[in-house]
């Protein structure tokens, strides 16, 4: 069974109907894992025995008559999300053996529905980045072009067919850029839709838990399962009384897609061509296209980094060798803190913590942080304004092809890769990355952004686009 050529629904039905047991499916998946992962560096941990045990438990529940909608579906989990059996490294070598006492709500809900966690996936230093280049384990290679990064290891796992779903975090765009670089679909949900309990978020204002899959149909199959109120994440209180889905009629002629002409200022010609083709294809399929202005993308990216770094400096404070992390060897308390934190935080996390503290310092708070919080509000208004005239917006996902594994790129170059994703994070709106085209046989994705809780509309449009292409 090639997982890329089927759907979550079909595989789960096959397991429920007894055509294959969950244990057999996971056994095959784990055997394929070693081959498909070769040279890619996708995993931080593989759930060998545990995955088999999970699968046997699923088979047992099916025998007892339970209708599990995700029976036997192999899932990977980004390693900043806790799963109480495998280590959760958070992207730090200091936590390579840390096993969390809890399991993230999104993971727990997938497992309750019959999914089987087969492994944890690689990530940047403390989950901060959209390349995996700062991972203490080395970067994850792109399945399409091994000399470039995958962006996200979960997307690489889905693209290779190692698994059917990846549960991943997305703050400034890691999930979406990974999906774009690996030619798969990735959904960052509306703020509050999916619980972040069990996520080690470096900036809680923007961190979300989303799903990457080979198709929009597969994401649709799990969205309701992972969505909804969780008393352990206050942000989900917006769903306490159920989710008011914002679903637009399925007919393409009823949907207007906003097309921000300003993005062309930032795109290389070949990426611009892909994006224009995607626009023309939508128009060809009957969608109305309306040109709009989004004039604060660059400033939104900058505001995102001010706020994200400030929050990182606070959230990293707990990694002191006493409360969390290994205690560094030192001859007194003062040195112990300095040593422990230098060992726990990698270079990228150290840079972000230090800059974030600087930005919050006397004289800088008003100049940088307060201004960033105002830009945050203005970006939110700008997106809301654009969506008054349109049902959805289309945006590029990344301004570049994935970064090469070898060779230097400055930290600002890497941060600038989030140009089209970070402002959407500020907006709080849901965003779906889908394949838009290719450059030299390398996939390029684009984002569809909609009003709050419009994920089903985004997935319907994305799915229609997949089938027509």
């Amino acid at each position: 069974m090639e997982l890329r050529k089927t759907t979550v629904h079909r595989v789960a039905e096959a397991v429920l109907q007894g055509e294959i047991t969950a244990h057999q499916l996971i056994d095959i998946t784990l055997k394929n894992c070693g081959v498909l992962n070769e040279g890619l560096n996708i995993f931080t941990a593989v759930a060998g025995v545990d995955a088999s045990e999970q699968a046997r438990a699923v088979d047992q529940k099916i025998k007892q008559g339970k209708k599990l909608p995700l029976a036997g579906i192999p899932v990977v989990v980004k390693d900043d999300l806790c799963y109480g059996v495998l280590p959760t490294s958070l992207g730090s070598s200091a936590f390579s053996e840390f096993i969390s006492p809890v399991t993230a709500t999104a993971v727990e809900r997938l497992m309750d529905a019959g999914a089987v966690v087969i492994g944890k996936t690689n990530l940047d230093d403390m989950g901060q980045g959209s390349t995996t280049l700062s991972s203490p384990r080395g970067a994850t290679a792109n399945p399409w072009q091994a000399e470039r990064t995958a962006g996200s290891a979960g997307a690489a796992a889905v693209a290779t067919g190692i698994c059917m779903l990846a549960v991943e975090s997305d703050s400034g765009g890691a999930l979406r850029q990974g999906a774009s670089h690996c030619g798969v679909a990735g959904l960052r949900p509306t703020t509050g839709r999916v619980s972040r309990y069990g996520l080690n978020a470096h900036c809680s204002s923007f961190a979300r838990v989303g799903v990457t899959a080979f198709s929009c149909e597969n994401i649709s199959g799990v969205l309701d399962i992972i969505s909804g109120f969780d008393e352990r994440d206050a942000a989900t209180a917006v769903c306490r009384d159920g989710i008011q889905e914002n679903i637009k009629a399925p007919g393409s002629e009823d949907i207007t897609i906003g097309y921000p002409v300003t993005v062309f200022d930032f795109l290389e010609p070949e990426l611009r061509e892909v994006f224009e083709q995607a626009r023309d294809e939508f128009a060809g399929h009957g969608y109305k296209i309306k040109e709009i202005e989004l004039g604060l993308l660059r400033e939104g990216l900058q505001a995102y980094y001010v706020i994200a770094l400030a929050e990182a400096s606070s959230s990293h404070a707990r990694f002191d060798g006493i409360r969390f992390g290994k205690t560094g060897a030192a001859d007194n308390l003062h040195n112990m803190y300095f040593q422990s934190r230098a060992e726990i935080l990698g270079q990228e996390a150290r840079r972000r913590s230090i800059f974030g503290t600087f930005l919050l310092g006397k004289g800088n708070y008003g100049r940088y942080y307060r201004q960033a919080s105002k830009i945050w509000q203005m970006v939110r208004w700008e997106f809301e304004g654009a969506l008054k005239d349109c049902d959805l917006l289309m945006l590029p996902t990344s301004k570049n092809l994935p970064r090469p594994l070898q060779g230097q790129s400055s930290f600002l170059d890497q941060w600038s890769d989030d140009l089209f994703c970070a402002p959407v994070s500020l907006s709080g709106l849901p965003a779906l990355t889908i394949p838009a085209g290719q450059i030299e046989q390398h996939p390029v994705g684009m984002q569809l952004v909609g009003p709050p809780f419009s994920e089903k509309t985004l997935l319907n449009v994305g799915s229609a686009s997949e089938h027509k292409n």
Binding site: A317, L333, R350, F355, F358
Partner: protein, 94 residues
């Protein structure tokens, strides 16, 4: 030493992260680059509007205040080190 450099050194001291001299020098250079990079954001006329402080509009997010049974054994099991009725932490008193 200018304000930026002094501010950076103060930040490193405040959050107690050990950095080598070469890394500290590099951070000074990078901070300058970063702050220059932020200039377009500083140039936006934001008027006297209020900034956004929360990412969502959820209100009354407190759970119902009802008593629940906790399981000390579960908490002890989750602790990095527990012995003789005590949670063990690294020695910090000198």
């Amino acid at each position: 030493m200018d304000d930026r450099s002094a501010g950076l050194d103060k930040a490193i001291e405040a959050i107690k992260i050990g950095v080598s001299d070469p890394e500290r020098n590099q951070l000074h250079i990078e901070l300058d680059q970063f702050l220059d990079w932020l200039e377009p954001m500083l140039g936006v006329d934001t008027g006297d509007q209020e900034g956004l402080l929360f990412s969502h509009d959820a209100v009354n997010v407190l759970r119902e205040d009802s008593p629940r049974q906790s399981d000390p054994a579960e908490i002890q099991e989750a602790a990095p080190s527990f012995a003789g009725g005590f949670y063990l932490v690294p020695k910090i008193m000198e």
